[in-house]
Point group: C2
Chain length 224, copies 2
């Protein structure tokens, strides 16, 4: 096996590292905005909220983009991470279920600024179709397959109620979508080649409550 091309990542990057790369990228953007051109691992780690050993270990999976004794060039490292996580691409996205949350997601600027382009908003409720949200008209759910093939949509966002989530996922998979971000509090059954990530707002709150209970000594698990 020969060497990889110019500093390219060797095979596989650990999941934990992948999850932190967007955080580093955001921190680098802040540094660049502040006019910083070079930073040490210590500096960048501080801005990202991790320790420097972890940061250097994570970056080592991508390649050697720093200079010993000097640090990292902000602009160069930023580009390398952006390329690695696909932020140099344009990602057409559809959002299904335009209730309160779908509404918020459609308006969320953090998507468009990272290469995600919302090509359509869909809702199964006829009362909602035709409404304009974030400058885009809501279309009927049945239009999904056509929109996916027309725009080459690879990523779908489910903001529908839990009761509809599996149907939406099935339709997305049938339409050719292989990556799903699911905000519905439901476990989705999908073929193994489909990647599902779940964001559950109330679960995060429940995890906090668990720790809060421990801190407050309110838990019912004390010894007699």
């Amino acid at each position: 096996m020969s060497k990889l091309s110019g500093g390219a990542a060797a095979s596989r990057i650990p999941e934990a590292t992948v999850a932190r790369l967007p955080v580093y990228l955001r921190a680098l953007n802040s540094l660049a905005d502040a006019g910083t051109t070079t930073c040490s691992s210590e500096h960048l780690a501080g801005a990202a909220g991790v320790n420097s050993a972890k940061l250097r270990k994570d970056l080592s999976h991508l390649g050697s983009y720093g200079t010993r004794g000097v640090g990292y060039d902000v602009e160069y490292l930023r580009y390398q991470i952006a390329r690695e996580i696909g932020q140099t691409h344009d990602w057409p996205v559809v959002i299904v279920g335009i209730g309160n949350l779908g509404h918020a997601l459609a308006n969320y600027s953090g998507f468009s600024s990272r290469g995600f382009r919302t090509v359509a908003l869909l809702d199964a409720d006829p009362a909602r179709t035709g409404q304009v949200v974030a400058g885009t008209e809501i279309r009927p759910f049945g239009d999904l397959a056509g929109i996916v093939s027309e725009h080459g949509v690879a990523i779908g966002v489910i903001a529908a109620p839990a009761s509809a989530a599996q149907d939406v996922a099935d339709a997305m998979v049938a339409a050719g979508i292989r990556s799903i971000l699911n905000f519905a509090p439901a476990v989705l059954a999908v073929p193994e080649e489909v990647d599902v990530r779940k964001v559950d707002l109330s679960i995060e709150l429940q995890i906090l409550a668990y720790h809060e209970q421990r801190k407050s000594g309110l838990d019912g698990a004390e010894a007699i």
Copy 2:
């Protein structure tokens, strides 16, 4: 060291387990709603989207709530998990920043059904104060400390813009809040006794895009 009282959890539960307990609870609620009174670890694991070995290992940290050869009593296990993660308590919550996302959170039924009670919505923008969202009037950010002490608020939710997030966190900490759910894309500096969990909508999408890029062979990391 003597035995703990009736099946109470021994000391500490692993973080990974804590994060899954709300998922099990949700699955148990579904089973109960469907009229199921008893379930095996295999059955419950399927409903929760994990494998049964992991489920049994997780539950073993709480105590022995199953019956060998039989399975788990749905209602009993549900109560035990609810108690363990503090869902038998009432948790007063404040939400700060009532833009699109704050609006969606205020209307999210998944909070109230799990013991979280939104006692106030706050916003620094005078143009928003007085507006009624989800049946609650938006109040000025300056009211935070009074509301926290009045209602004994232990958990704060930040849905403000990133630029304001640290100020909001500082005010929450000063007011006595020790658990924060942060939706702003910002790294917060807080005293170590304060627990911060972060939900970042665009990071989840970026993780999906990374894997999608790999699947599609679009990544710039291939060998020459």
